[in-house]
Amino acid sequence: MDWAIETRGLTKRFDRKLAVDSVDLQIAAGEVYGLIGPNGAGKTTLIRMLATVEKPTIGEIFIDGIPIDHCDHRATLKQRIGFLPDDFPVYDDLNVWDYLDYFGRLYGLRGTRLRERLYDVLDLVQLLPKRDSPIATLSRGMKQRLSLARTIIHEPILLLLDEPVSGLDPIARLEFRNLIRILQSAGMTVLISSHVLSDLAELCSAIGVMELGQLVASAPLDQLYAQFSRQTLVITALDRLDELQAILRTDRRAIAWECNSADGQIKVEFQGDETDCSDLLNELIRAQIPVVEFRRDRESLEQIFLKMGHQQAS
């Protein structure tokens, strides 16, 4: 299989400290891959190496099967990668249009194509009304969107985002998530590192966990949930909670439960798939339990992360 990103034994040392230690990573094309781990785990260094900003000490990186240090393909590879660092520096002496125009030209865009692309990305990041504004006058959220526009001006197929939502307010984060969804639907492969695991849970199709420079886990999100997430059924009834509990006692799939009589709610740790849940609900209805709420809950990504023995610092 040709991976959008593949690394083999990727290692980076700073002095004698291993910042990234023999990382073998594979990300499929079109995937949104979340990279999580405590501060200092090596996420930023890994992303900077993938973005060709940092040179690996040893190891290989392949983008679409092409080795990243291959001289003949360097220009082609650069066209394919878009990188947004966590501090997203911009030029305060330019206005929004000139900034994007400059980077568009650096990526080889000219004439009508350049103008079209500038309008497209400004529209996408909702900065069209600000096209003539000096960058120094933009808010942090706008600067961040402008940086994202710079990152995608040349239509890369691989987007590397390092802590893209850090320091943004909830609305800006929501807008950013929507943008990523649009880019994903356009076929981009996205690698995001973030401490906001709820965002990653919404966006990502696969997750990698880094600790002390090593990639200690890497799997599709569904697989992680299946392996580590405990399923909880939340059942609320108007009364007859005792009978409900009696039914649960006879059901082997109900491992444990917690009853809150005041609210009429029982939280059941349930081992089973969707069909099993449906069977249980049918049984409750046949027993004429006045059920007003029956829903499945699963543990959050953060809870899974902690359960895996990692400690997420945010």
């Binding site: 004698r16 060709t52 220009a75 066209q79």
Partner: protein
């Protein structure tokens, strides 16, 4: 009245719009050619800045013109009766000390040598313009680069497919764009003065060619400097500019001599190159200056683009150093061929110049600490650098970018000695031997210093570069003090030869008259041996340290070394 006003203003608006469209098209074309240049121009040349700079440039020219007019008026003025008057811009007979006796054209006026007046105006204006570029232009470049490094935006530019050549060219032309605009505004007066001064179009182009070559070299040095510093750009930018001026003023002195040869103002100093007195031939001197400055600029350009593409690499490759050493020596030999006894003694000059070139190589070929650590730790993984194969290891030390520079420095010294050997043999006398002695001495000494610097850079200290520079300074000054203490002037004094272990070693033979003195030669041999042994010992210490730092984590633990140096 209103419609009438709007009709009157319509053509003006139309013209303004047409101008704007033309300007936009021109900028678009410029941006297509070099996006970096367009970016710098847009960042620097705001309407306000352009108006301010234009006003300042025109005002300065007016003041300069009035000042120069006054000089002419002063020259022409007759103040007293009959005593002879000597003035620089007069026409007339010369006296024994090359003064010009002013010739009267009327009772109230002397004749003014207008071509000379124009020529000196040309020279003065050129000096000011170049000085401005050296001081302010380099400062603008250094600040621009340092700011981009600090912000982290250089990484974005590096990530684009745009070539480093174009980006650097855009920076060179665009970062000091306002200064360039001011210089452009002064070009009409500059050109007029040159033509009126009798330089002719060819002479003007030649002089401007030298000026462009000179300023390009200064700009590249500024960028080179900026790429090595990390912060405090505000202070260091001006410091570089002032240092540039310090070196620029002697260049002015050299430039003025051949320029005034176009007028019969007497003899200029002699400087022979392959038998040609270059000062007597301004075209040859200008051509040589352009060639030398261009070679230096090309070398700097290659270093800069290399560092821009790979910030962790050395400034120069070892192969480049060998070629440049070859070029430098062939150029230097030209000043001593054919050899005449009345010429300046070559040993001191060649030795000192070679010592300086070696110092440059020492700095340019020194791999950064991290590169060296990685090389020491992982060199066994690279087939081409397999230490188990002696041949590959030798190849790596000779040509490899990440290996230490000792062998490359030694090879550069050997190339130099090989090139001077036929010249030395041609004299069959002490002169030739002394030149080789000077080169060998400078090479050994620089090897010692290179090993010392390499060793210090491997120390676990907060600012290893500051430590290395400091220690090197102490060693240099200390050894000179030791030399002074042990006695220099008396060549029969055995200890006097210990000067061979100081940075001034290469100058020593020129200070010694009794070359055949057996005591002196014996002491020289001993000093050389000590110098060589010191270099080898320092090399072993540095390599031992490097090997220790290159141990794997487990090997380091077994040895009891701390993992974190």
């Amino acid at each position: 009245m209103k419609p009438h006003t709007s009709l009157r203003s319509y053509p003006w608006k139309q013209a303004q719009k047409t101008l704007q469209i033309m300007g936009d098209r021109w900028l678009d074309r410029l941006g297509n050619w070099n996006p970096q240049l367009l970016r710098e121009i847009k960042g620097n040349c705001t309407q306000r800045n352009l108006i301010l700079v234009s006003l300042a440039a025109i005002a300065t020219q007016v003041i300069f013109w009035i000042f120069w007019q006054n000089i002419a008026a002063e020259t022409a003025t007759v103040r007293s009766g009959s005593e002879p008057v000597y003035r620089f811009y007069c026409t007339g007979l010369r006296d024994g000390v090359e003064r010009v006796l002013c010739e009267r054209i009327s009772a109230t006026a002397f004749a003014v040598n207008w071509p000379l007046w124009w020529l000196d105006l040309f020279f003065g204006l050129s000096a000011i313009l170049l000085g401005l570029l050296v001081l302010v232009g380099t400062q603008a470049l250094i600040n621009n680069w340092a700011q981009e490094s600090k912000q982290g935006t250089l990484a974005f530019i590096r990530m684009t497919p745009e070539s480093s050549d174009r980006i650097l060219l855009g920076k060179l032309l665009g970062a000091p764009a306002l200064i360039h605009w001011a210089v452009l505004l002064a070009l009409p007066l500059h050109t007029l003065a040159g033509l009126q001064g009798g330089l002719g179009l060819g002479g003007l182009l030649l002089v401007d060619g030298v000026a462009v070559a000179l300023i390009t070299t200064f700009y590249l040095l500024a960028l080179f400097y900026a790429s090595t510093i990390q912060s405090k750009q505000g202070v260091s930018g001006w410091a570089f500019g002032l240092l540039g001026l310090f070196f620029y003023f002697p260049v002015l002195g050299v430039a003025r001599a051949p320029m005034f040869l176009v007028l019969p103002l007497g003899s200029a100093p002699q400087l022979n190159w392959f038998g040609q007195n270059v000062i007597a031939q301004p075209e040859l001197l200008a051509g040589m200056a352009i060639a030398v400055l261009s070679s230096l600029s090309i070398a700097l350009w290659q270093s800069l683009t290399r560092r821009f593409d790979q910030p962790d690499s050395t400034f120069s490759t070892k192969a480049q150093s060998y070629w440049l050493t070859l070029g430098f020596n062939l150029f230097a030999i030209g000043f001593f061929v054919p050899w005449r006894q009345d010429q300046i003694h070559p040993w001191g000059v060649v030795g000192l110049a070679w010592g300086m070139v070696m110092t440059v190589w020492m700095a340019l070929l020194l791999p950064p600490r991290q590169t060296l650590l990685d090389w020491a730790r992982y060199r066994h993984l690279h087939k081409s650098q397999d230490v188990r194969s002696g041949r590959s290891a030798l190849k790596d030390w000779l040509w490899g970018d990440n290996s230490p520079s000792f062998l490359a420095l030694l090879v550069n010294g050997a190339i130099t000695i090989a090139l001077w050997l036929p010249w030395a043999l041609a004299f069959h006398g002490p002169t030739g031997v002394l030149v080789l002695l000077s080169i060998g001495c400078a090479t050994l000494l620089m090897l010692l210093y290179a090993a010392l610097v390499q060793w210090v850079l491997l120390w676990n200290v907060r600012q290893p570069i500051a430590w290395a520079v400091g220690l090197l300074g102490i060693v240099m000054i200390g050894s000179i003090a030791l030399g002074v203490g042990l006695g220099l002037q008396d060549s029969a004094n055995f200890w006097g030869w210990f000067w061979l272990m100081t940075p001034l070693a290469s100058l020593l033979p020129s200070l010694i008259s009794e070359v055949g003195n057996p005591i002196a030669l014996g002491a020289a041999g001993l000093a050389f041996a000590i110098n060589g042994l010191a270099a080898i010992a320092m090399f072993c210490v540095a390599m031992n340290q490097l090997d220790r730092l290159g141990l794997s984590e487990s090997a380091a633990l077994m040895r009891g070394d701390r993992l974190e140096p």
